[in-house]
Symmetry: C2
Subunit: 453 residues, 2 copies
């Protein structure tokens, strides 16, 4: 019986988040105000976010203290275990050691509470009493619902309609935690009504839902908006994952050759990888790989451009890999990976060749996920299946090259409320979503004439 | 920031299960062969169970080595954390320290894999290649599906129809792990057909499903039957929970005043409590309390009697608290607590006043569960809500008496695939199931004339 888990005691939890902005070889392009084309000011963002988070968004301070109140909530499930997937390794029969951070151990079942908790905390500390947000698969919405409940904030969640229908359990989870969940596009915002007028059957998208949530926040006094990915402060909070893993690897005297995560808006991928990107910047030989769906291939097929974060153009222009703000990807089950853009930090790192990206087809990701469930037990979320497919790829390459490798990846969440997608896969009902170049070209016309980064 | 979790490293996992039969002040009554009225012999059971488990069922050896192959699988999620519920304590405002073993961390989300894994292992070791079983809420069926997949056994699960319909996700989980799941009563067994002939709309019960699974096992070569609760060897395997908790309490220099678990067939309750019952037998001042539903009040309203374990009378006569083998409880959402009888070990302990039992109404249990979810984050299974209601009770009493108490309970599983039951509760759709004395009297007529223990 060989140990397979590396644990940290509660008192070993990292006390600071890591801010990659302190170590970037070249500075990031600023977000621009769409009307002026000039960098946005903190005041521009003040109706949307509390000032303490706006400051965190822009700071270049390397280490940010995690407030005591946040640490206390983190301890409900953190530090998460670093696990070795020996059974999966045997199945792959490749010269690899596969480690994963099990972020499925959180109450919401994913990595999302890592930023939901501090966001609720900082809003509360700033005097805010209500948050609005959007959610794709529902992982973010459920996480924020829980965090708001913990700090006594009201919470309204706009959930992408296709996921609202495919994943009723996540809506119920939000209700258990006392939040209100509304399918998007809805008729309670102007942004939603505009979409419904043009497309009454719209399956929705994260871009649309973001527009609705921002409109909802700015039109309610004492309210702010909360975003579950993309932004710098969100990625900052998620670095707790990678930082813990570094402490855990230090305990067993190992260091990964490859660090991997699935990438939708970028928070899960960045959460595990930013502390390793730092090492890479300082000369360490480590590869960082993001895995995305072929149905929404932002990093692998989008240009690096300024674009809006949402459909209704309510956000600043963000410098990022994007498929255009009105791109509505096919309704794949990995709802959390259906975002048209990518976190500016992750985009910057790809632009600077500090990370790599690969795209995987939905059918291949479910094949990998079922292999995982049948060997390691735990059933992964459809999003997580993307990085597992990438791990399978990486192991295959290691075998071909005859090279030993230590692989680390972020097991972003479990699939207990995504089981309908597995049923669709197992009964042959998953539709392949092939994506012709023309579709992407058409989508990209939406950003023609925007400022170039 | 105070630590709230007590962890065990992989290498600290207990290497032996604890067998309470070695320490009972009075011996247990034997199971009887219904035809002869004589104690059943190992040969009687051989068509149903493999001989290695039959031996485990009867042994009085105090400590049983856990096979290496089982320990390896246990490590995928065990040792489970011992957690302190500080937020829930604050809410109750009582002089109690509340600790819980989080058995929701297993891949199937409940304590059931603790016995599913060894049962699959021992069957495999005995040369069996296929298992049949029944399941209520689906927690046992999913756990056995996973365990069979891990050891390369085929698996067929008969799932109580009301749960099959209420909890489709658990059926899907079984499919992901490669098992076949059939709603019970079904038309593929004689036992099922008999029920359907009399009650075409039968919601099913564990008793009926057991009959179907046994019939299915004995009619397929190379097959055996597997039971997820009730039997001595099942409770034996579950003692890993209580044994871990004792190591964990030793680390922080505490010992519980009260140990609690919800009780359906008895395995979850016994799993956490048997090592403490041992201490109680040896003079330690510790109370042990089981919590059951008022809709199926086996321990609190049933007589101690010999009865069949199943509806079709295919099992031996077991000495237990029972409501009669044809008792079909109301379709409460805690499907795992809808068993007409109770494990002979647990029954014996109650008879000997070594443990206590209390019954809780479904509405009160959901109220407690929502309180839990909104303070501690994790959403409990409906079964688990019963013990949480009992903890609330215990805390209230401690407050009234002004007495400090350390409470330990088994958080038997999460409610991620039981969310429809929370929705029913939150929208006021849960029906109160009041249980008149006449209903129990009527049910008990089924065991009139049986041998008396």
């Amino acid at each position: 019986m060989e140990p397979i888990k590396v644990l940290l005691e509660d008192q070993e939890i990292p006390r600071q988040w890591y801010n990659i902005q302190a170590d970037l070889p070249t500075p990031m392009r600023p977000p621009l105000h769409p009307a002026t084309g000039k960098p946005v000011s903190p005041e521009d963002l003040a109706p949307i976010f509390p000032m303490n988070l706006i400051e965190q968004e822009a700071t270049t301070q390397r280490w940010i203290d995690i407030p005591e109140e946040v640490l206390e909530k983190y301890l409900l499930w953190r530090p998460s275990p670093l696990c070795r997937a020996r059974n999966f390794e045997k199945l792959l029969d490749a010269p690899v050691k596969i480690f994963y951070k099990n972020e499925g151990v959180s109450p919401a079942g994913s990595h999302k509470p890592n930023t939901a908790v501090p966001q609720a905390y900082y809003n509360k500390a700033f005097g805010i009493n209500r948050l609005s947000t959007e959610t794709g698969a529902g992982q973010w919405g459920s996480a924020l619902s829980m965090a708001c409940q913990m700090f006594g904030l009201e919470c309204r969640v706009f959930m992408v309609r296709v996921s609202y229908e495919q994943k009723p359990y996540r809506r119920m989870m939000m209700n258990v935690w006392g939040a209100e969940c509304i399918p998007s596009p809805s008729d309670i915002t102007e942004a939603g009504r505009n979409v419904l007028a043009a497309h009454p059957d719209s399956p929705g998208s994260l871009g649309i839902a973001i527009s609705e949530a921002i409109e909802d926040a700015v039109s309610h006094p004492g309210s702010r908006y909360s975003l579950g990915s993309v932004l710098n402060h969100v990625l900052l909070h998620q670095t707790i994952v990678g930082l813990e893993s570094q402490k855990q690897f230090a305990k067993i005297g190992l260091y990964p050759d490859v660090v991997m995560g699935c990438a939708g808006g970028g928070s899960n991928f960045a959460g595990i990888s930013l502390p390793y990107v730092r090492d890479r910047i300082h000369g360490k030989d480590v590869r960082i790989v993001g895995a995305e769906p072929t149905a929404c291939p932002t990093l692998t097929r989008g240009p690096f451009a300024y674009d809006f974060g949402d459909l209704a153009k309510k956000t600043p222009l963000l410098p990022m890999y994007t498929l255009g703000h009105d791109y509505v990807p096919a309704p794949i089950h990995a709802g959390g990976l259906r975002y048209h853009g990518m976190a500016p930090i992750v985009s910057h790192l790809l632009k600077e060749n500090l990370i790599e990206a690969k795209a995987y087809h939905q059918l291949d990701t479910f094949q990998a996920g079922v292999m995982w469930a049948r060997s390691e037990g735990f059933i992964p979320a459809p999003e997580t299946n993307h990085v597992i497919a990438a791990v399978v790829d990486e192991a295959r390459r290691a075998k071909e090259e005859g090279k030993e490798k230590v692989i680390l990846f972020n097991w972003s969440g479990h699939g207990m409320v995504d089981l309908a997608s597995y049923e669709a896969y197992l009964t042959g009902k998953l539709i392949p979503h092939e994506l012709p170049d023309e579709e992407i070209d058409r989508a990209l016309r939406a950003i023609e004439g925007f400022p170039k980064p």
